[in-house]
Point group: D2
Amino acid sequence: MTAMNKENRRVCFVINSRANYARIKSVLIEMQKRSDCELQIVVGASGLLFRFGNVVDIIKRDGFTVDREVYSVVEGNEPIVMAKTTGLAIIELSQVFSDLKPDIVVTVADRHETIATAIAASYMNIMVAHTQGGEITGSIDESVRHACTKLSHLHFPATQGAYENIIQMGEEKKRVHITGCPSLDFIDENRSKDLNNILEKYLVNPKGIQNLDFLLVLFHADTQHYIEVSQATREILKAVKETNLPTIWLWPNVDAGTDYISKELRKFRDSNPSSKIQFVRNFSPEEYVTVLNHTKCIIGNSSSGIRESSRTGTPSITIGSRQSGREMAENVICLNKADSLIIRDKIIEQVNHGKYDQSNLYGDGNAGKKIAEILCTTQISIDKKFIPLR
Amino acid sequence: MTAMNKENRRVCFVINSRANYARIKSVLIEMQKRSDCELQIVVGASGLLFRFGNVVDIIKRDGFTVDREVYSVVEGNEPIVMAKTTGLAIIELSQVFSDLKPDIVVTVADRHETIATAIAASYMNIMVAHTQGGEITGSIDESVRHACTKLSHLHFPATQGAYENIIQMGEEKKRVHITGCPSLDFIDENRSKDLNNILEKYLVNPKGIQNLDFLLVLFHADTQHYIEVSQATREILKAVKETNLPTIWLWPNVDAGTDYISKELRKFRDSNPSSKIQFVRNFSPEEYVTVLNHTKCIIGNSSSGIRESSRTGTPSITIGSRQSGREMAENVICLNKADSLIIRDKIIEQVNHGKYDQSNLYGDGNAGKKIAEILCTTQISIDKKFIPLR
Amino acid sequence: MTAMNKENRRVCFVINSRANYARIKSVLIEMQKRSDCELQIVVGASGLLFRFGNVVDIIKRDGFTVDREVYSVVEGNEPIVMAKTTGLAIIELSQVFSDLKPDIVVTVADRHETIATAIAASYMNIMVAHTQGGEITGSIDESVRHACTKLSHLHFPATQGAYENIIQMGEEKKRVHITGCPSLDFIDENRSKDLNNILEKYLVNPKGIQNLDFLLVLFHADTQHYIEVSQATREILKAVKETNLPTIWLWPNVDAGTDYISKELRKFRDSNPSSKIQFVRNFSPEEYVTVLNHTKCIIGNSSSGIRESSRTGTPSITIGSRQSGREMAENVICLNKADSLIIRDKIIEQVNHGKYDQSNLYGDGNAGKKIAEILCTTQISIDKKFIPLR
Amino acid sequence: MTAMNKENRRVCFVINSRANYARIKSVLIEMQKRSDCELQIVVGASGLLFRFGNVVDIIKRDGFTVDREVYSVVEGNEPIVMAKTTGLAIIELSQVFSDLKPDIVVTVADRHETIATAIAASYMNIMVAHTQGGEITGSIDESVRHACTKLSHLHFPATQGAYENIIQMGEEKKRVHITGCPSLDFIDENRSKDLNNILEKYLVNPKGIQNLDFLLVLFHADTQHYIEVSQATREILKAVKETNLPTIWLWPNVDAGTDYISKELRKFRDSNPSSKIQFVRNFSPEEYVTVLNHTKCIIGNSSSGIRESSRTGTPSITIGSRQSGREMAENVICLNKADSLIIRDKIIEQVNHGKYDQSNLYGDGNAGKKIAEILCTTQISIDKKFIPLR
């Protein structure tokens, strides 16, 4: 940590995963440019783990100083480890905040550990800012996201609908700012970048994708229905295989049920040595945008299949209940069940459709700048009160 | 724990303090009478501590079986220990739930540890029921209460206003039941019980109160303004002393800032050996009702000065922001600041006024029965979704 | 857990890894046969993890009842996670012991989490029994093992030398019993079992090993020199490859530095698709004995390359400081440094030498029976005192 | 924390209680004088608690910078909280060490949390120095002390006997240095200081002691026999009362069973309002020496009744098994049982005897200087190995 400047506001970002980083990076860039605040970065949870792409190294390579690294992932394949991870993260983060003494702590989106940041900071009378609140989805993320809203003092929803939901939950209007999602800020400058370099950096067999039509799959465990994921993974694998299209498949997040997915992926890999599916651990947020822009179709249940893809216009197929309820642009086809035949047909339909029109539903590309400005200038205040609408 | 009956629903109550117990005891009594469910009781946090009245012993003496005792209070006088206590409680409770395998977990009201119960259970895909949600107050309790609502699947608000706030926050109507507050269930049968026995059981000098007009003080730290409590405690002590009325003063809850209060109380006690103020650690919920009914005025910032006192009609003076926003009956005078002269005058005014009419604002005395019935018969379901009102 | 019988002694075993299980299983079998004690089994740490062979499932399949599963591994590749894992395990295990109320807790050997069991139990005034104490090795295990001895009340060293070291450390003679190591109890009945079935069960390509001379590698991170393991792993891979012998390579334990090893193994696998090395997650203890008996040479730094192999007479090459100081039979060649040329030459030397004479250094095959008898009949006593030898 | 100087060695002291501070303060003073090392101070456990004298404030008032404050005491009156406190402290301290990056961590003596420091540091490959190892006593402290020795790389025993015990346990001679106990370093300069100022600072009624013969009592819970402490406390109270001598009684340490003692003390105080016993929370280490030097007899089971009193020659009565086995000078009378009549008679005997000759058993007053010199100049090395004596 750089020496503390008494006059400067300290804003601390807690980044717990690769998805967190993608959704906050443009804010960090803007914060770093400013002279009126001190940027603090804490990396925790799966952000520190090799199995999930060592995001902490990417953050450092991007030129940021990481003030604290907080190991808090309790390993296991049952939902109980989400609870234990969150408990441990609260213990650790409260100690970190007592040392870094931030004026504002920023917590990102809705993974289960997110609430650890909000609890540790709010209980210690530190102002909490929350990004991507107010959205509606399935899974435990739905509850976590709204609970974080009620623990936070400053809100940066991505969409008009999310804004209205936050107000409905009783938050004061002056604390809620529609900014768009920072993950879209990179899209315009990165969508058309050279894909081949990226493929060579990450793929064992880049030639299997380069200059070809290819699919992109991100499929995570739904922690409330984690038992069913093995079956769903098999159906998606089968569907993708039957399209005979080369495919990039990103390893899932660390979550209850992840091992069920990993096991299926390994089994598939071992019994299909000549398959056209290549497994990748991680891209940087910018690289991911390029990949997303070039793929003919994104498949799975990642929010990027709704959010980022709305702006690249990438055809998308969202499977299961993990994203159910989320606002979507016209590029998304939703499937409630994972049936290989239907998935295969919808993939073909989407590949044939080609790119959709770009939508500004999740932001206009300036979220980072807007959020940084508010974080640096808003009044510090932790006294909040439920506002009845009636 | 009694042997698990496969056919019976298991409902687990987590009780973390004496206030928790008072607010759930009538539900436990009703649950114990029923043959269609298995009652599980976990006592944690300050419910296990001698300094806070050893509530666990009272629970056992009342005839309940305590299935698990979970030490989780991290000791200290700074807000950071609320965060650490909550983190530790999540770790512990998740292990307990994995062993007790409840179908429903009940979390009570809004103290900071309450959210540990809600997180551990909801993350483990166990249905969470929450009592006393939807109310509006000051302090971190305000945020914790609403965050618990968003993590819970079943709600038992005490008042119509609280019900409407929960609906506003996006909860499904079928999950929200106005039941009244169980803490009021004991009032009718206990209000007129013999006070003298209780005084003899708890007071060093019962004759200093018996058959006399007396005051009752409960003053807790407001964890968001915990630094100011020393001054406020001194003002209240001064005011009470100047009324020259005998007084029962209950030790404060364990909270950040509690030591500041305790220190003032000890200082006062040491330098006022002949004072008419007697300090008491704890009453049982029923005994408390009797004391509350007999006092000429309750002073401080306990919610019982608003909630239970509404039904006994006891004159009440509420000081500071800890309860600000809570629905009140006409028996309460609110003072924003703790000024000894004003407090003294208002005490005299309230003592002279005498009892107010009884109000049903916080319940009609049947909350325990209603809540138990719903817990035992509602459909088990953890799939919840935000309901937009527009 | 079965209902507690007041008259029966309760003995609780905490099993934290596949190695733990192999080293205590014959004791569990003997305990289960007895009617004078109640057997309790707690599985924790890597014993619950898929990545490390899901030992808990093997334990259940072997007919044991697992009373509690305790997730406590904090994931990461730095030594700090060993400390955090141990801290978390103490918190969890103390809660488990308060519920299971054992008379004796058994902790196995010397991995870093072992001390969590010893601390939780001894602090709670529960008698602690420790197996495989008194041995001398390198790595943090050396310190952990002796610290466990000083926290334990009953000792089951495997060798005469270990016995003498425990006495030297000031333990009372009546508390120390040379029993041999339980991991050797399976050797006689399993050494000659059919290997082919086992290979078919675990290997992708069993024919690559069946009826052929093959090598066996177990190489773990040395947590005090964990940075160097990448280099060492590469050297061993190179040496093994150059022998051109088919090889079974077991994935390493979960430890600081494990990721460095895994990364090298994956890299090797990806760039040597036609390699004769096959990677396996886990064998059962008995299956392992059969594999160990059939291999031409065991290579790496697992204690089984010294302990179990002494009784099968399997030629062994031990590399680095992790086992330095351990008592060895004549079958072991020690190499301080990992140099591929030297390793290769020593492998060829050992393969040419063939089986060594069987040694009883680490036990005569009756450790399980002896330990069970003492656990069930020894006097319960936690008052211990350092015995000066001068 | 001051900015880290790359060339300077960093030595980190973890102070967990008032007793810890008294036993390390003279080392801190010497460290602070030196320019060849950077002093780091972490205060944890009861060192942060108001109930135990707020040692952290005394440390700051003494001119030291406290780098980190780590709340880790899990509150409760059962032995389980010692285990949980230790587990939590390991989690917290490992995070602190990863941030402060010390070259050596110093852990003091033998309270249960002491081992948390040793585990966190040694697992993280940081050199651990341990003071007051090798002594023999009763209670769990006996096991903790020796386990810490086996986890440490540098030892500062106070006595020749302790030195020999450490060597016996297999430590290398070059790592063990007889330095005496730092708590004795203050004795010569403070023994004759003015007592009356100190009494006025801490006592409600200083005149009750000033210029009179008085007794000093320190009685802590023995965590292995914590149930019996109520009875023992009553016997000591009775004995002291019957001598009719004015008495200073220090509140006990935070430990399992402390509440039993506190309860008896409060009961006594309430029912003996005119008693000559005055209760005090804390003295500074130097003030304590003055009090100890002036008292006619120290009674209880504190190690200061053996250690510091050996050098002041203060008559001492040690009760119970907590100190049994410790090396003693001729000033100590040991009583196995707490019987009020015997205690009273022995008090009278000791008061009549008056001062004993001063002993150097626990040090010559230069421990601080010796320890600081070794800490700043010894070679950093974590590779340790058991040294067999045969």
